[in-house]
């Protein structure tokens, strides 16, 4: 287990270096001069020159890369040219919001997706199965922004139950926080719930016909124990891996959801920064997201080993 962990962590470092190069390189491919965008309407040549100097845009690309990576290694991700806030401060301000949204969305997805997948597999061919499959199809095909706007119209404008948008910090008002996050989390979670349902269903169908499940039944164990303790535990292995990957998808899905519900999170930060060519913010946000993705995969692999003891050797 320890050797496995060391080997696995060792592969992360070169991946991270590659990620920094990729982020920096891809950003250079973005057309448009950031100084022109940030100079605003007046396009004052003095302001443009000042911005170029501040962003090191007049220096060769390798130097610009070294400036950035050098800062990153010292924990300095730079400063947003638009808002003048340190990128790290912006990230620390926005990350908890998106993480909360993603976690709530994942909870909703798990609460809907896994039970629906189990019921659908256990009651294969019944109305339950068709209903669950119908939900999955709906969840996969409904665009987030569209569902979001429809929900705002229904629950905020017509019924007045939930706020149309915005965010309240949980420590300021936990109830208002949950009210504000409910619709975005549901919108973000439906897609993942559909994916989880489909995978749980097929994994369950596979294990339900396995010999050890038949043996468990033959031993006279109750249907509940067979499904939950024997079948589900094995069926969950690929679902855990998928769940970790989907958490990454949730982070990227949050981009649209945060725009619709005006949640001041990571997604909104990156979209606004790309359009404003706020390079330091884009680089910082993508670096943190990429690192989080890599770490989530590592955690998934560890969870995989814990759930499946045969991999420990």
């Amino acid at each position: 287990m320890t050797t496995y962990l060391i080997r696995r962590i060792a592969t992360i470092l070169p991946t991270l270096v590659f990620v920094t190069m990729l982020i920096f390189g891809l950003q250079q491919l973005l057309p448009g001069d950031p100084a022109l965008v940030l100079a605003g309407e007046e396009q004052d040549p003095q302001v443009i020159a000042y911005l170029r100097e501040r962003m090191h845009l007049d220096e060769p690309l390798p130097m610009q890369y070294l400036y950035w990576v050098g800062g990153v290694l010292q924990g300095d991700l730079g400063e947003s040219i638009r808002s003048q806030q340190p990128v790290l401060e912006l990230i620390l301000q926005k990350l908890p919001v998106t993480v909360e949204l993603a976690v709530l969305a994942m909870l909703i997805a798990l609460l809907i997706g896994i039970p629906a997948g189990i019921v659908s597999a256990v009651r294969q061919g019944t109305a339950w199965d068709y209903a669950a499959n119908g939900f999955a199809l709906w969840g996969l095909s409904m665009p987030n922004f569209w569902l979001g706007i429809l929900m705002i119209l229904l629950f905020s404008v017509h019924l007045g139950w939930l706020p149309a948008s915005g965010y309240v910090e949980p420590w300021v008002d936990p109830v208002a926080n949950l009210k504000a996050m409910l619709m975005p989390a549901f919108v973000l979670g439906t897609n993942v719930a559909a994916v989880l349902m489909r995978h749980t269903r097929s994994a369950m169908l596979q294990v339900m016909n396995a010999d050890y499940v038949r043996t468990a039944r033959a031993k006279g164990l109750s249907r509940r124990v067979v499904i939950l303790r024997h079948a589900l535990r094995n069926a969950l292995t690929p679902v855990i891996t998928l769940g970790a990957l989907e958490l990454g998808t949730l982070l990227s899905g949050a981009v649209l959801t945060e725009q619709v519900f005006t949640i001041p999170g990571f997604g909104k930060l990156i979209v606004d920064s790309v359009f404003n060519r706020d390079y330091a913010v884009v680089q910082g946000v993508v670096l943190v997201t990429g690192t989080a993705y890599i770490l989530l995969n590592l955690l998934a692999d560890i969870a995989y080993v814990i759930v499946n003891p045969r991999l420990r050797s």
């Binding site: 057309p31 309407e41 301000q93 725009q259 359009f275």
Partner: protein, 513 residues
């Protein structure tokens, strides 16, 4: 003794209230009120010297007072100033200041503060105001309530600059202490002081008790929330989360006007929407059929029906126009009225120019309005024989291409300035930063410079007529229309002043319970 009296009175009031007795009591405490405003974008730096966005000016209206403000007719009226006087040679502007005004940190807003601010605008690195104040060579403090701005040459647009961000005064003490980070905790002298800002989420301001005109301020707090999506912004107004939204979508205005829960305003802007044509910005102008021959540009303009464009693109919520100012503006050149659509004449002009079917690309940003303009223009111009290829380009990229002159025609809007010079000089004077068309005509430059030296309205209007006669024949920009600032707000809100710069003034606003 006092406490006892207060307690007794409270107890008596409670008893009376419990008994259902209604009393009319003077000076009852008023419930704290918050004005909640939905913005279309997140403002940039909250530092008047370095700010560069239109939306930031909306927040500044409550946060930072200016030396002058404008009224509905675009006349200058005093704010921090109480009066002004030009010297006989128009090379010095003496400004009398309002006395007893303080900044939010309690520092006096006096002549020394004005001198500090003008110098800060002119010298701070990254200042967006230095260009607007270029002719100002120095500031003399005459006494605590009088300053004189000395100019290198007469410059009549100066008042317009001082009625905008260049005229906003910040606390010298705070500015010196925070330096480049002033925008993280701005200290001005407006009716509201800064409390907090969460990027992309909210800007919170709180009533400043030391404000010189506090009798006109009826809110305790103002909260600005940026929501770029017009549908979601409106949903927030409808669900009661906002009291006011700016830039409502034109398609929703008809329904909003019928809904008695809301009031609306549609104010013709001081800016414009136009199509910039590359006539000399780069070598590409020589291959551009529009750029090569003025007759082709005239044909292009004649192929367009401005009223039709306004109806289709803006649902009628704009004023057709052919100049840098709207037809209602006092500086509109009446000698150059809006040309009517004339496809037959357009075809004849193209034939005379030897290009009956000129082909060019029309660069446009990816916003919905810009896309719609391009499509309608394409359809109209095709009828006259043009082959218009729409080149949809993300805004940052389009700006870069425009700057390099790598375009034929470009759909571009300008938010406008109170003085026509702000809509004209940088676009049409030789080698100016916003002169994407590449117009460089010494005669036009001379007229533009002349207009800057004139302060009498009638005299300037005549000069603008001469400029219009030349520039509108040359057509570096084909002006299409002047958008309307579309506002929607709860019918409980009163005192909304419809000023052409599209900035909501908070003084005088009241929210009924």
């Amino acid at each position: 003794m006092c406490t006892v009296l207060t307690t007794s009175r409270t107890a008596l009031l409670s008893l009376l209230a419990a008994a259902g007795v209604s009393l009319s009591l003077p000076a009852m405490p008023v419930q704290a009120q918050t004005l909640r405003i939905g913005l279309a974008e997140d403002p940039d730096l909250l530092d008047p010297t370095r700010a560069r966005t239109f939306v930031g000016r909306i927040v500044f209206s409550a946060l930072c007072d200016k030396l002058f403000d404008i009224d509905e007719q675009l006349d200058y009226k005093p704010q921090l100033a109480t009066g002004y006087e030009w010297s006989p040679d128009n090379k010095a502007l003496t400004i009398k200041l309002r006395q007893g005004v303080t900044f939010h940190d309690g520092e006096p807003m006096d002549a020394e503060a004005v001198k500090f601010n003008i110098e800060r605008h002119k010298t701070m690195k990254g200042s967006n105001r230095s260009g607007e104040l270029k002719p100002v060579t120095g500031v003399d403090v005459i006494d605590a309530a009088t300053v004189r701005l000395n100019l290198s040459e007469p410059f009549s647009p100066l008042l317009a600059a001082l009625a905008d961000r260049a005229g906003m005064m910040v606390s010298p003490k705070a500015a010196k202490a925070t330096g480049e980070n002033f925008s993280s905790n701005p200290v001005c002298s407006g009716p509201f002081k800064f409390v907090e800002r969460v990027a992309q989420d909210r800007i919170v301001l709180e009533r400043y008790d030391g404000y010189w005109n506090k009798a006109d301020i009826h809110f305790d707090k103002v909260v600005y929330t940026p929501i770029p999506d017009a549908t979601v912004r409106l949903a927030n107004l409808k669900s009661g989360q906002f009291d006011f939204i700016e830039r409502a979508a034109s398609s929703y205005m008809a329904a909003l006007r019928k809904d008695n829960r809301f009031k609306t305003a549609a104010i013709t802007e001081i800016g414009y929407q136009g199509i910039t044509i590359n006539i000399g910005k780069s070598d590409r102008a020589k291959q551009n059929p529009l750029g090569k021959d003025a007759r082709v540009r005239e044909a292009f303009e004649l192929s367009l029906d401005r009223e039709g464009i306004v109806q289709v693109v803006m649902d009628g919520e704009a004023t057709p126009g052919n100049q840098w100012v709207a037809p209602t503006n006092r500086y509109y050149a009446k000698n150059m009225p809006i040309p009517k659509r004339d496809v037959a004449k357009a075809k004849a002009l193209l034939k005379a120019a030897g290009v009956p079917n000129p082909s060019f690309s029309l660069m446009t940003a990816t916003t919905s309005d810009a896309q719609k303009i391009a499509q309608v223009v394409q359809a109209m111009a095709t009828e006259a024989g043009f082959d218009v290829k729409i080149q949809s380009t993300e805004f940052a990229t389009s700006l870069n291409l425009a700057d390099k002159g790598d375009f034929d025609a470009y759909v571009l809007a300008w938010s406008g300035r109170a003085d026509p010079d702000g809509n004209l000089y940088s676009f049409d004077a030789c080698k100016q930063p916003l002169n994407y068309a590449g117009l460089c005509d010494p005669a036009v430059d001379e007229l533009l410079n002349t207009s800057r030296t004139q302060s009498a309205v009638e005299e300037r209007r005549k000069t603008f007529e001469k400029i219009a006669a030349q520039v509108l024949e040359e057509r570096p920009i084909v002006y299409l229309y002047h958008r309307k600032w579309l506002w929607a707000f709860t019918s409980k809100l009163s005192g909304v002043r419809e000023l052409p710069d599209g900035l909501l003034r908070v003084d005088g606003l009241k929210l009924a319970p």
